[in-house]
Amino acid sequence: MAASKEIRTQITSVQNTHKITCAMQMVAASKMRQAHKRMECGKSYSQRIRTVIGHIASSHSEYHHRYMVDRPVKRLGCVIVSSDRGLCGGLNINLFKAALAYCQGEKLPSTEIDFCLLGAKAIDFFRSVGGKVVATHRDMGDNPSVSDLIGAINIMLTAFNDDTIDRLVIASNEFVSTMRQLPRIEQLLPLPKLPEDEADNYWDYIYEPDDARTLLGGLLTRYIESQVYQYVVENIACEQAARMIAMKNASDNALELIDQLKLVYNKERQALITQELSEIAAGTAAV
């Protein structure tokens, strides 16, 4: 009898786990929809700012802002966007692996890489890996604002301006679909070449204040900030999608486990009944 009681407790505990994973799956599904919407919202800002930068750059081809000039890479800056919480499958660890592989591909010693870590998981991981961490930001929540991120981004931009780092890359997850998220590493600075506009670049803006350089500098900073914000929001959508899938798998596994345990439990119960019956039969035969 003792064995069947144990199995019963085990079944209840798996059932409870199933309830939790089921609830987490539904929560993640609704959060994913919201995050996806936010991701779409911010896109037009960075697109527009990019067109403006393209116009200014093409009408002032003699002047190159330092954010646009490639220089030999002696030191690399790397922004890593991760989630704050776990239970989202291999999302974070895949990203970290891809980032480390990229850093190794650059053939720089790990001391020559400055990390800017966004999200608690990245902070925990890179603490054990080593590497110089210059900026961190955690507890972003589900709905971060640009102003939360500006501090960390500014540290990297200042480092780029001071020639401390020669290239800035960002590693985050790309939202391909609900079922699929891929780690992606992109170069933020110097700006990858903008696609050339139509040939008729004869017009130019009136500038207020009358200096294209200061304006361009401000625009570029804002552009980078909005890019990082975009990546962070996209990563949140990825996190929720990955969590949804992970929790769905966990729920399915729990159901399977419950079925197996029930089978064992019933077998045990039947064996017990058969045994009791045969004992009774033997008893009557003896009388």
């Binding site: 936010r38 919202c41 911010g42 037009s44 800002y45 960075s46 527009r48 700012i49 403006v52 200014i56 604002s145 640009v146 102003s147 017009w203 130019d204 803006y205 009136i206 500038y207 207020e208 204040p209 304006l215 401000g218 625009l219 804002r222 900030e225 909005s226 914000y229």
Partner: protein, 136 residues
Amino acid sequence: MRCDIVSAEKDIFSGEAEMVAATGELGELGIFPGHAPLISALVPGTVTIKIDDNEEKVFYISGGYIEVQPSWVTILADVVMRAEDIDEKLATQTRRKAEKSLAEQQSKLDYTLAASRLAESAAQLRTLRRLRKRLP
């Protein structure tokens, strides 16, 4: 003339407009259709969009850039608030606090911070006053 106000976090306004007024770094800007291409930094202030003779929309922005083309205007804003959403109490409070810390002038960092706070809250209050004047 097409007018869009976008911030990094969301699209605020998008539609046809007869006139757009904003506060540029070098002074007030009033833009009608057919304006020459212009790009300007914006300081904290009010953006008014005249949609037609009867309708106007008022926004508060904390800074950003305006891009003008003959047939469209794009405002790339840092933080945008619909004028109706401004919290007057909070704005007045911030202004008072900023004025106080300006008067005390402790360190340079505090000074710039307080100055920008003051500019922002003053602009918010100005926007509110404008909105009030219009409402019957």
